[in-house]
Amino acid sequence: MASSWCWSCLSRLRATPTPRAILPPQSITPRITTASFHSSAVQYANPTKKKGSLVAVKYRQGQTLRRKKKKTTERARPPAVGERKALRKRIVLSNPNALEIEGMQDLSSETMVDARLRGSVLGLPVPMLDQLRAVQAFKPKQGWSIFRRPGTVLRRDTLEMARLFEKISGEGDGAEKGKVVKKIITGLKGSGKSVHLLQAMAMGFLKKWVVVTVPDARDLVSGDTSYSPIEGTNPTQYVQPNAVSALLMRTVEANRQVLSSLKVSQKHSALPSLKPSSTLEDLAKLGFQDAAVAWPVFQALWTELTATAAAPGMEKDFKPRPPMLVTVDGIGHWMKESAYRASDYTPVHAHDLVFVKHFLSLLLNGQASLKNGGMVLYATSTSNNPSIYTLDVALDQLAARQTGVSPSSPEYPAPEAYSGADARVLELFKPTTGKEPQFELQTLGGLTRDEARGYLEYFARSGLLREEVNESWVGEKWSLSGGGIIGELEKLGRHVRTTAQPAPVLN
């Protein structure tokens, strides 16, 4: 008996009980309708009636306006308030499916300056993770969630920074206690600027420094926290009590150990409720319990931390203050007008916000500078970055000065005429005349091939990368990542390749 399967397309024809030989003539044969794969069914189908061809056009009837009502569709309940944001900002630091790496070393005072470990990934110490979380060192899209535990590459820039940390802390050879290093960190997208800051924070915690961070500079200028003018300032300056209070809370949570060991050593007339015997932790707590006094508390805390000696009569409990690390991520947002408005509806420049101004003045050698030494690291951002012409020019100027171009020479970059360059930004970046060197520009580039190899091996050993990591393969990936841009390397490393499964055979 003939098979009821159609041989060309494997669809089943109508099962006919009679053999083919005694089929009636074709005109009587029922048309195959079940074989949906055949186009002949469509071809033989009766022509469909044209709809509405018989309906008479009503010429004499008045035309009325018919509008379709919008259908209200039932929608699922939206997530609770804040749930979406929580999901967006969630930071996952561990992946139990990734392999534990045997023999992975932790970042410590010894390993961070060990040049032999260059190119290897050092784990962040587990007890420190809470502190790093408190200062919001981790960003949601940095890919911490694919590894067993967070770790960072020890690259050349990291080693250099670690040596600076050692020097400023007064350890090792060539110690320069009390030195202040100020840097603006730039680099291509994915070159590891934010992680560089994170490494700095981790080192700061290791060395028992006081770490003060602004995890996202935009938060202070986007008009999302309250602001109020300070009376009697010209031009009017604005204080942001809630932002200050949040910063105090971050600082206390991360530096509790250091702050609780230091006692108040100055007189603060703005804070009458402060007891002379209280610690700096108590002082900072005043600020986040009541946002109204947050700004005076912050000022008091700053004078305490930068104090080199106690006020007369308060020397009893005075301990020398540790160095400080101040980091800001996304500095570009501070180089333009903010989203706040003055009472006459003119926009408020970011430099008129007193909190922003405080951090920017650390770059200059002003009153607020770090007297006990430390580091000021301000990074630009490329993922969340306003385009600011003046900042670009100013950074070019800074780079030119660093390479030895004199500001009076014709090669020195200058803002174009009629470009409306922001004078206040240029003023901030102008060359200093004093003895103290100005802040530096540090541009993060790609990893070297050796560092890239160490980094990709880390992926392989975590079980994410099923490739043989050898010289030629790493060379290829290094080139593909634009010369070792670490963010691009990460994309290549986490891209898991699976072999194609053979398709099941039909019988």
Partner: protein, 145 residues
């Protein structure tokens, strides 16, 4: 609720006014009503009570239209007819700008009065403060109403 949005719930306050009001009292744009200090609330209430908003403003708008109608201006007539006032085309695409006759049939009160006004105005322009002077024969369109 966000303060700016809640200001804009008042008839007569839009984005322009509300953002200036917020700036005047140093309230940030995403501030919520619950976060306002007492003084800010009092300041806002004081300013709002001096402004012409809500019913006062509605009354003013209605009075303006009424005045146009009473003086028999073209704009007034168009208002009375529910036709576009500002020179839009009515041959096609009038859906947005005027109340179609068929919709009026749902509201007999409005329809009758409008039709009468129409009749009067079209026929003679003899029109004294809404009272019909000369009765006119209705044409087919108007009889439908």
């Amino acid at each position: 609720m966000i303060e700016q949005k809640s200001l804009e719930t008042f008839f007569g306050i839009g984005n322009h006014t509300s953002s200036r009001l917020l700036a005047r009292f140093n309230i940030h744009p995403t501030c919520r009503v619950g976060e306002l200090a007492n003084k800010q609330v009092l300041d806002l209430t004081a300013v709002l009570s001096d402004m012409k908003i809500e019913n006062d403003l509605r009354r003013e708008v209605l009075n303006d239209i009424k005045r146009l109608k009473e003086t028999g201006t073209y704009r007034g007539r168009r208002h009375a007819l529910g036709l576009p006032v500002r020179g839009q085309r009515t041959r096609t695409q009038v859906g947005v700008s005027f109340v179609p006759i068929s919709c009026l049939s749902l509201r007999p009160d409005l329809a009758t009065s409008l039709a009468l006004v129409h009749v009067v105005l079209v026929a003679s322009g003899d029109f004294v403060a809404g009272r019909i002077k000369t009765p006119v024969k209705l044409n087919r369109m108007e009889r439908r109403l």
